[in-house]
């Protein structure tokens, strides 16, 4: 917004041309400001005179470099302003041709002023006008324009489809014209000539950006030159206009392609990977280009050991991370760990990287639970990239600090500023400090949108280099942003008063009923005066007045319209302009807000598949299902991961209109939307909503950053709610400065320093008291000290001092007060002293749990007891084996079955004991009703048995809470499964089982509890085969359980599951397991046999792919075509002529689809059940 709604920019853009025809800069600023306000209203559009000004500015920018008074800044600003207005004008009513013209002019303008993603966003607004379903003569006048719009949209799959269709039509027309040998088969010179040349030029430009060949660029430039030189026809002004822009853009486009930006020596496969996988990256955005062009400290250069990338959200930070990862894999050795404290971000990265790595021939590790279970839990160390939470990496390090980083060449940490947060933030802080002093320290790249103190953080990260060589920062971002404040509005002129009887609580004798509306104060620029919009009446509030206007919390009568309902009405209205995210403080608010939004919306057919999925997963009466029917969802940490992922997918796919989400670190929604409404108390608020946690400035910035989907829309709105009519100064809250975004450590928070003082008192006389600390960040610090002292002391190659990883904590490096540093170090020394006097095996065990030392000790004590019990039960076996064994032969280890392990734990009341640990406390709670409900007991051991049996959630709710209202029963069941089984209990149970087994091993017993018990609990399945699926990329518990049960009956070893699932092919999957579209996608990815088909084609080879032939007919042979999967037919069908011959076998489907999407011209031939894929010669 500020980029064009700025008097200086407008003055530049208009130059000295203001006068009778063009407005003055001040007039234009007023007009644009009003347009932005209008854009929020129902029928937005742009008045003719403003549109006219936009076109004139577009034309003013036609002056070429080298002209007498060419001014590049003026040209850039003229393009920017005209693009902005023309883009807004697309919101009004215009005929199709006019819309295409405005869209292309806006796109060209955006590209020329370096706002590339907005050009894609504009394409989204007109993509339906890019026609491939009509005959050529019916749109030849706009064909070149459509090609230009589609090209600058950079939506590669859609562009590929359109180009293929148009080029086929043009070829048919050429053939028609040249049907006799004496007739030329060319369209040059005819009314089709210019459009044909533009289409072909776009094809070659696309090929150039997708595959990097310089000859394609040359051909495109030649073709465009022929169009503007009128050598291929003269009548098509639109084609010449488009060609002229593309000609001028072609050099810049080529220069911003990855083929030209990756450091010399990078294999072309890396650029190809990004160009061809989804989302396609044909050109980079300005800050990404700057990053790749860095001469010193370039994070894409494997020689750069440490980097900090700090750019705003929507500047393409996620892509930067992907570039760093892929460039590392292509040029350096070692695996990559991508660490994200936000699970939503991790899921998003997983989706994007899966496709990238597929084309690079590399493997992405499947998602595993946060807590490892023995060696198996470390995951597949042969996978190239693993996406994980700080917790998982920390658990891996605790389990085996050497093995966990063995072979790791790079760690990328996203949203690194979260280290300043309590609890989970400290895990990240500790992780970074430890990895830096680790003897096998890999490269470390941190990314963040919210680092105010970049230089000091960079100095901490790499003290050996100047900070400006360690951090990269840029203020560029994609969409413009408009700020606004929402507040309840009392319609004072319509208040109705009646007499009332005073009560003890409300003494007023007059009941005042006030109609309520929503007030929206909008400020498009910091310089402009806010514009206030008011809605119609949305509800009422009643007050017991003692005097007129005596309206306060104390006099408010029950039953009035709550503020969140007013804001929800605003959110519902704004869904007409694009998706809306409402950030709230609690999970209950998230649900209630979502429900309130639905009251203003109709049912939404697009959300049907989500509704089906949620009904099956959560039960049709779950409130999330009724919300989803209207295209609304809520998102918080008490919902299962697969549900959150489904909700995120639906938001990404445009099925959802609005989402209400909590703001917490773990569970925040990372996806961009058109509008973000922050209904949350924020840092520094005096007037806060009741009992609300305050959002930090970094969290607020993160939420603000979600507004405006780069590439989807060119503008985002960020609206902050206020409990009362706000002042203008409240707008400033939405733009925190560097000072407010300092990243240090939660250890330095006043509250934590108080906890430290308390701990200091406790340990002053008795150092062993460190072992009793629990439930605070100080306890986490103590556990961290314990672990790092233990780990560094046990690592052979380590030459660090024992407290090196503690001294290296950002808290102690960035702290300004030396005394605070001394206090923490003093506590650390006490911990180290206790560690030193604890037996090596005990202190090692305590270091592995990931809990506080207090809980570790408790768990270890329980483990000692349980190990003794196991040994008592199995003593006969160990003795018998001992007698029968020859000296020196190890005992054969016997792992108990899952059932036996669970029975044993139940008999010893272990599960109830675990529920009382500080780390688990508060979980596994049920009440008979939501409001003021009485507690209900649900026995946890039986519940675990039900859960792992694969029973669906609706049945579990029925079984556990038969007498409770169905909706409330479902909600509680989901909450408890997620909070207890999927997180807290499975983590601590995993730690306990590990301790028991360690003790059993140390004691020479050959018996073990089932080591994967906690993972079964985490995933809710009871067969090894199902668990294999769920730890290999399948997220659907239902499907895994169904497949696992059949495989277990057939005694298929879990190691052979992939072959077994593949053998069923699509018919088997559908007839036996009835998978949903989402489940099919996961299965296709799971069974995939990775092949770099595009690489083979580029090397002029002709790969063969197996086809599942139609069993009902004779095998056929001939030229083939492929038909993409559709909702009704999920296979990739092979046709010979009109005849359906079969489908690409499931293990190849994903890779063959990638070839189809690449835009490479193909020739396909089917013979003997194999499809030969070749590269067809390109024409035109």
């Amino acid at each position: 917004m500020e980029r064009t709604l700025d008097l200086q920019v407008l003055t530049h853009a208009l130059g000295d041309h203001s006068g009778a025809i063009l407005p003055t800069p001040a007039e234009l600023l007023n007009l644009l400001t009003q347009l932005e306000i209008d854009a929020l209203r129902a029928d937005s559009g742009v008045p003719e005179d403003v549109l006219n000004t936009a076109w004139l500015l577009h034309g003013l920018a036609a002056v070429s470099p080298g002209a007498a008074d060419y001014n590049p800044a003026q040209v850039r600003h003229a393009f920017a302003v005209s693009a902005h207005v023309l883009d807004l004008a697309l919101g009004g009513a215009h005929d199709d041709t006019e819309r295409l013209k405005m869209a292309f002019a806006a796109q060209a303008g955006y590209r020329r002023c370096e706002q590339d993603p907005n050009a894609t966003a504009v394409y989204r607004a007109v993509e339906r006008l890019v026609r491939t379903d009509v005959e050529l003569p019916d749109h030849v006048e706009t064909l070149a324009l459509e090609a230009g719009v589609a090209f600058l949209g950079m939506d590669r799959p859609a562009l590929t489809t359109a180009l293929r269709a148009w080029r086929r039509q043009l070829a048919q027309l050429r053939t028609l014209l040249g049907r006799h040998f004496d007739r030329p088969d060319t369209l040059a010179g005819t009314m089709y000539g210019p459009a044909e040349a533009v289409v072909n030029a776009v094809h070659h430009l696309h090929q150039h950006l997708a595959f990097g060949g310089p000859e394609d660029l040359d051909i495109a430039v030649q073709l465009l030159g022929r169009v503007v030189g009128q050598q291929v026809g003269s009548g098509d002004l639109l084609a010449r206009w488009v060609a002229s822009h593309l000609l001028e853009l072609s050099e810049d486009l080529s220069a911003s392609s990855l083929y030209n930006l990756l450091p010399p020596g990078t294999p072309p496969a890396v650029a190809r990977t990004f160009a061809l996988s989804s989302p396609p990256v044909l050109t980079l955005w300005p800050p990404q280009r700057k990053l790749l062009e860095l001469e010193r400290g370039n994070p894409v250069d494997p020689a750069t050991p440490r980097s900090l990338i700090s750019v705003p959200t929507s500047a393409g930070k996620t892509l930067m991370a992907q570039l760093v990862i892929c460039a590392h894999l292509a040029q350096a050795s070692g695996r990559v760990l991508y660490v994200s404290p936000m699970r939503s971000l991790g899921r998003e990265m997983r989706q994007a990287l899966r496709g990238r790595l597929r084309l690079l021939g590399r493997r992405l590790a499947a998602e595993l639970p946060d807590f490892p279970i023995g060696e198996r839990g470390l995951g597949n160390l042969n996978d190239d990239v693993e996406i994980l939470t700080p917790e998982r990496l920390m658990h891996m390090l605790r389990h085996d600090p050497v093995e966990a980083l063995d072979g790791v060449g790079l760690i990328v940490v996203d949203e690194a500023h979260h280290m300043a947060r309590a609890q989970r933030g400290f895990v990240l802080e500790g992780l970074l400090a430890f990895c830096q002093v680790h003897p096998g320290a890999p490269r470390l790249v941190l990314l963040s949108a919210a680092v105010g103190n970049r230089a000091s953080l960079a100095s901490w990260l790499d003290p050996s280099r100047p900070p400006e060589e360690v951090y990269f920062s840029d203020t560029w971002r994609g969409p413009r942003r408009l700020h606004g404040l929402l507040s309840p509005h009392y319609m004072r002129d319509r208040v109705e008063r009646t007499a009332r009887k005073p009560t003890k609580k409300a003494r007023g004798r007059v009941k005042a009923v006030v109609p309520m509306a929503l007030r929206m104060a909008l400020r498009p620029t910091t310089a402009s005066k806010p514009t206030v919009l008011l809605t119609r009446e949305l509800g009422r509030r009643s007050y017991a007045e003692t005097y007129p206007g005596d309206w306060s919390r104390e006099t408010l009568l029950a039953g009035g319209t709550a503020s969140y309902r007013l804001f929800a009405a605003g959110a519902a209205y704004l869904t007409t302009k694009g998706s809306v995210l409402v950030v709230v403080a609690t999970k209950k608010e998230a649900r209630n807000t979502a429900r309130a939004i639905t009251e203003h919306l109709e049912e939404r057919a697009e959300a049907e598949s989500l509704v089906t999925y949620l009904s099956e997963t959560l039960g049709s009466e779950h409130p999330l299902v009724s919300c989803a029917r209207k295209g609304v969802a809520y998102h918080h940490g008490a919902l299962p991961d697969d549900v959150l992922e489904a909700v995120e997918d639906a938001l990404r796919a445009g099925q959802l209109l609005a989402i209400a989400s909590t703001s917490t670190l773990t569970d925040g929604v990372n996806l961009p939307v058109r509008t973000v409404i922050v209904h949350h108390s924020i840092s520094g608020d005096f007037l806060s909503y009741e009992r609300q946690r305050q959002m930090s400035d970094a969290e607020l910035l993160n939420a603000v950053g979600r507004a405006g989907r780069a590439g989807r829309e060119s503008e985002g709105w960020i609206l902050l709610t206020r409990p009362v009519t706000p002042a203008n100064a409240d707008f400033d809250r939405l733009a925190p400065g560097d000072d407010q975004l300092r990243v240090t450590s939660a250890l330095l928070d006043a509250e934590v320093l108080e906890q430290l003082a308390e701990a200091e008192n406790r340990v002053r006389d008795d150092a062993d008291e460190v072992l009793m600390l629990a439930g605070t960040l100080v306890a986490d610090f103590v556990a961290y000290v314990w672990f790092t002292v233990d780990a560094l002391g046990s690592m052979p190659a380590s030459n660090s001092t024992p407290l090196k990883a503690v001294e290296n904590l950002p808290a102690l490096q960035l702290v300004e007060d030396p005394q605070e540093r001394a206090r923490w170090l003093s506590l650390a020394e006490k911990v180290a002293a206790v560690h030193a006097v604890t037996s090596p095996t005990t202190r090692r065990r305590w270091a592995t749990t990931g809990t506080s030392l207090f809980s570790a000790r408790n768990l270890d004590e329980v483990a000692r007891w349980l190990a003794g019990e196991v040994r008592a039960l199995t003593a006969h076996r160990d003795e018998a084996q001992w007698e029968g064994d020859f000296e020196g032969w190890p005992l054969a280890v016997e792992e108990w079955s899952l059932r036996r392990t669970l029975d044993f734990l139940t008999q010893h009341n272990v599960l109830d004991m675990l529920l009382r640990l500080p780390e688990v406390e508060g979980n596994w709670k049920f009440t008979d009703q939501e409001h003021r409900g009485k507690p209900l007991q649900v026995p946890v051991s039986q519940a675990i048995t039900d859960w792992i049996s694969g029973m669906p959630i609706p049945r579990l709710a029925q079984r556990w809470l038969p007498a409770v209202d169905r909706v409330w029963a479902l909600e509680q069941t989901v909450d408890n499964i997620s909070g207890t089984f999927e997180h807290a209990l499975s983590w601590t149970l995993g730690a306990l089982v590990h301790l028991v087994n360690t003790r059993l091993g140390d004691a020479g017993s050959s018996t073990r509890l089932h080591p994967e018990t906690s993972w079964y609990l985490r995933h809710g399945v009871d067969t090894a085969q199902a668990l294999k699926l769920l730890t290999s990329g399948i997220t659907s518990r239902r499907l895994a359980h169904a497949m696992g049960s059949v495989a277990a009956e057939q005694r298929i070893p879990s190691a052979d599951m992939k072959e077994w699932v593949t053998a069923w092919q699509m018919e088997g999957w559908i007839s036996l397991f009835g998978p949903t579209a989402r489940e099919i996608d996961e299965l296709l990815e799971y069974v995939r046999q990775p092949r770099d088909l595009i690489g083979e084609l580029m090397a002029d080879r002709t790969p063969l792919v197996e086809v599942a032939l139609d069993p009902w007919q004779e095998p056929t042979a001939g030229e083939a075509t492929l038909v993409r999967p559709s909702p009704n037919s999920p296979t990739l069908s092979v046709f010979v002529g009109q005849l359906w011959a079969g489908y690409i076998q499931v293990q190849h489907q994903v890779d063959v689809l990638a070839v189809l999407d690449s835009g490479l011209p193909l020739s396909l031939y089917l013979m003997n059940g194999q499809l030969t894929i070749g590269k067809a010669p390109s024409s035109g």
Binding site: A62, L173, L176, M191, G193, V228, G229
Partner: protein, 297 residues
């Protein structure tokens, strides 16, 4: 269907060298006005002359669309002139060039057709003008295939003779006026509207031209790329014009006398110009053009 067969119309057209201007009188009007204008009307009111004019327009359109390719253009022309209906691939080929402007019937399509024919009349009568002493036409583009009801735009870039690399241009707004006896419309309103539109859709056209034709030649590059700059500065090199095609019966005695009040930005001498092309029963004339194009299909 045109009452005079195509080959007769063509013969008459050939007799005047295929030049539309040879069939018209062109007279200067309102010389004393800020905005003088020219009136173009048939010099021969015979059916034959009218048919010849319709043929010249139809033939020019098809020549332009087929790029004068002997194959497609010849195929169409021979069929029309010999009264043959094309079939199969031949028909498909000619169809590809004849639609969309000539495709549809109905009132809306006829309105668009009249507008399109009006643009061609402006284009042909302007293009065929003999070279003037002080300037020659450097750039004039045939009407675009995109037909809009609101009227089209055109531009003529003149090279000034006697000075090296100097140019001027006039941006034209083209309108049709079909008097509806049921409504109290008049040409004045159409002209007023046209001047207003010059400031709107004209801006778009000019902006596109600034990019589209700046690469045409090196010495006109700087001039064409700054068309908009000249326009917004109302430079002496930038001029404006309004052309109206109408029924000959509706040709006014006085026109364009208030143009300077409707379009006040450009005030230099010669900044404004008008053109009225009067054709008896303009709508029928446009249909004749269509029928010559379509008669082979």
């Amino acid at each position: 269907m045109a009452s005079i067969p195509a080959h007769d119309a063509q013969r008459r057209a050939d007799a005047v060298g295929g030049r539309l201007t040879a069939l018209f009188d062109r007279s200067r009007k309102g010389i004393e006005q800020v905005c003088p204008w020219e009136l173009v009307v048939f010099n021969d009111l015979s059916e034959a002359a009218r048919a010849a004019a319709a043929w010249i327009v139809a033939d020019s359109v098809m020549k332009d669309r087929t790029g004068n390719q002997p194959a497609a253009y010849g195929l169409w022309r021979n069929a029309v002139l010999s009264g043959t209906k094309l079939a199969g691939d031949d028909r498909a080929e000619v169809l590809a060039f004849a639609i969309p402007v000539f495709k549809a019937a109905g009132e809306e399509a006829t309105n668009a057709l009249i507008g399109y024919v009006g643009e061609w009349l402006w284009y042909l009568t302007t293009r065929e003008l003999p070279p003037e002493a002080d300037r020659t036409i450097e750039i004039i583009n045939s009407p675009s295939g995109t037909v809009t009801d609101s009227g089209g735009d055109g531009i003529v870039v003149h090279r000034l003779t006697g000075t090296e690399g100097e140019f001027s241009f006039r941006l034209w707004e083209m309108k049709k006026f079909t008097a509806d006896p049921a409504k109290s419309s008049d040409v004045g309103a159409t002209i007023r509207n046209a001047w207003r539109q010059l400031g709107t859709s004209g801006a778009e056209y000019l902006a596109m031209m600034s990019f589209a034709d700046k690469h045409l030649s090196k010495d006109s590059h700087a001039f064409v790329s700054t068309l908009v700059r000249q326009w917004v500065q109302a430079a002496p090199s930038s001029n404006a014009g309004v052309s109206v095609a109408l029924d000959e019966t509706a040709v006014p005695q006085q026109a364009f006398h208030l143009s300077h009040t409707h379009f006040p930005s450009h005030t230099h001498d010669g900044a404004l110009a008008g053109l009225i092309i009067g054709i008896d029963e303009l709508g029928e004339f446009a249909k004749d053009v269509r029928s010559y194009v379509w008669s082979a299909l």
